[in-house]
């Protein structure tokens, strides 16, 4: 498929960039900044000297230590969210050169290989900005509550082992369970929109992340106990039927989670659920 090719091309381009990157060069980091909710946005550019292995995080750190813009203006350290810096916590997600991804794994060599190249940073657009590049993703955790993304165990007392499981089933669940709630899938989704009002969270499209998590727990022997309730939620407003099949989610997922398969699997479950519910009468 052409887009798969484009992706390869992109990766190849990045590999080339990395090979040809000029050591010790200076690059421009252009950042969309905002002082807080309701405040206007503005662009600021900073010149940063790169070193071997520089990434967006190391650049933002060096800006924080000396926040002077390219036109010589003294500014303030840029605010951004980050955690593990290994692409497993999901915190440092932002929009880089127009595309959502984690900033820790964004190597400057791949994106700005030549002297004076510019890298553009923006906060995610589907979540309310707290300040600068930091956004509030509480809605994602709220969605996990809506789909009851947990295994309803009896308690933490010693009650023996969990259910046995085939390696294939484990692999299926593990792939889904790698979701770090980063929000890339939602940022890239044309059906998922910014909702400042928390009231709207329960009826606006819930997005691939929570749908896939619902599937994860529906796949677990004990987790299945809540399957009906999860499906009921996902059959309601903002549920799985609101998916528009643009399939951007699966292409931007940093963990390669088969999100579109999850959406289809939950679609199948809801079909069966609706039919059985109709004939069972409850």
């Amino acid at each position: 498929m052409s887009d798969a090719y484009a992706h390869l091309h992109d990766a190849e381009q990045r590999r080339q960039n990395r090979k040809n990157a000029v050591p010790g060069r200076q690059v421009i980091i252009k950042i969309k900044r905002c002082d807080g909710p309701g405040k206007p946005s503005r662009w600021e550019s900073f010149k940063v000297k790169t070193e071997a292995g520089s990434n967006v995080i190391s650049c933002l750190k060096s800006i924080a230590a000396n926040p002077v813009t390219t036109d010589g203006k003294q500014s303030t350290p840029v605010v951004w969210d980050s955690g593990c810096l290994e692409e497993v916590c999901g915190a440092c997600t932002m929009v880089i050169n127009g595309r959502v991804r984690q900033s820790c794994s964004c190597l400057i060599d791949e994106y700005a290989p030549r002297e004076g190249d510019t890298l553009t940073l923006e906060p995610m657009s589907k979540f309310p900005v707290i300040r600068d590049l930091w956004v509030d993703r509480e809605r994602m955790f709220h969605a996990l509550k809506r789909v009851q993304a947990w295994v309803p165990i009896d308690g933490t007392y010693n009650l023996g082992a969990g259910p046995k499981e085939s390696p294939e089933q484990q692999q299926t669940r593990y792939d889904l369970s790698e979701c770090m709630t980063c929000g890339c899938c939602l940022e890239a989704c044309p059906q998922f929109n910014l909702e400042e009002d928390e009231q709207a969270w329960d009826t606006a499209f819930i997005g691939a992340q929570a749908i896939s998590q619902a599937r994860l727990f529906n796949e677990h022997e004990t987790g299945k106990r809540l399957k009906g309730e999860r499906l009921d939620t996902l059959m309601g407003a903002g549920g799985v039927s609101d998916c528009g099949n643009a399939q951007n989610c699966v292409k931007v997922c940093p963990k390669g989670i088969p999100l579109t398969e999850s959406i289809a699997a939950v679609g199948r479950s809801t079909t069966i659920h609706a039919v059985t519910r109709f004939f069972r009468g409850k």
Binding site: M1, S2, D3, A6, G98, R99, H142, K145, R146, A188, P190, Q191, N193, E198, Q199, D202, T203, A204, F205, T233, M235, G236, A237, G239, S241, D242, C243, G244, N245, A246, Q247, N248, K251, V252, P258, T260, E261, I263, A264, A265, V266, G267, R268, S269, T270, T271, I272, A274
Partner: protein, 293 residues
């Protein structure tokens, strides 16, 4: 925020969200999609009718055979298909349901092609645009050719199921004499509209399989995608053949063939009757020439 289940009283759209969504998906296939297939297959007989007539078609030109076959098909539909009105009403209701909801659903998304120019995302956006343009086209198509809103047709040609090919050609070409500027516009509109609708249907069939959970794995989705692409291309050929057929028809030749068919079947009187009943035609200056033919 601790009670996520508790939200404001849901409206009917929200309460029956799933059912309505699935009906939206279903109506796109049955009856709309099924009708689309039948309609395009019938119409494209303008191009393949010569062979559809089998031995009878031997000796006919492609156009001649096409016109004959097409006229027979149209006549059959209008005289032999039972409950035609009921079928039509079902279709109209389905189309109204599908399109009104479709418009509403489309407003809930915001395309982002510039940032994520993937093939699937192209289809996402195209699905919406093909819906918008497609429904305008359907409305124009039905209003002009079925409901007889001749004020929307250049030179007021009224389609008749007794002179199906000739009146169609006149309506699309802009006049019975052949191409006019307005006719080129209308034809282009037909080309774009029908192409988008075929895309809309094929792509909708692909997404419906995901919605209903028929294709779950990536591979299944790909395979079904190939099948939908095949169907879409087939229908596209049929659509363009229908259109091509209608655009290449010579009005006079077609009318002659159709008249002959009527005479063969019902006799001269019936033909006279029909020609008299057609209000648009007496105003045409070369009417006499036509009748003499």
């Amino acid at each position: 925020m601790n009670q996520p289940q508790a939200h404001a009283k849901p409206g009917p759209l929200q309460k029956h969200h799933f059912l309505i969504r699935r009906l939206h998906s279903l109506t796109g296939i049955v009856p709309i999609g099924v009708f689309l297939i039948a309609h395009l297959v019938t119409n494209s007989s303008l191009a393949w009718g010569k062979w559809g007539l089998r031995t009878e078609g031997r000796g006919y030109s492609v156009a001649e055979g096409g016109i004959k076959y097409f006229q027979k098909e149209v006549a059959w539909i209008n005289t032999q298909v039972p409950h035609l009105l009921l079928i039509e009403i079902t279709l109209w209701v389905s189309i109204a349901f599908h399109s009104i909801l479709g418009f509403y659903y489309a407003t809930t998304g915001k395309g982002n092609l510039p940032r994520y120019p993937h093939q699937d995302n192209w289809r996402y956006s195209l699905q919406r645009w093909s819906g918008y343009i497609g429904i305008l086209f359907i409305f124009y198509h039905v209003a002009t050719l079925r409901w007889g809103w001749t004020f929307l047709v250049p030179e007021g040609t009224k389609w008749s199921h007794d002179f199906s090919a000739s009146t169609l050609a006149a309506a699309l070409q802009g006049s019975p004499e052949g191409w006019t500027a307005a006719g080129i516009g209308i034809s282009l509109f037909y080309f774009v509209g029908v192409s988008l609708l075929v895309f809309h249907f094929a792509n909708g069939l692909w997404t419906a399989a995901i919605t209903w959970g028929l294709t779950v794995s990536e591979k299944a989705q790909k395979q079904w995608g190939v099948a939908c692409l095949g169907l879409g291309l087939g229908l596209m050929v049929a659509a363009w053949a229908s259109l091509g057929g209608a655009l290449l028809i010579d009005y006079d030749e077609a009318k002659g063939i159709e008249s002959k068919l009527i005479v063969e079947k019902y006799g001269e009187d019936r033909l006279e009757e029909l020609l008299d009943a057609a209000p648009a035609e007496p105003e045409r200056p070369d009417e006499q020439a036509m009748a003499d033919d």
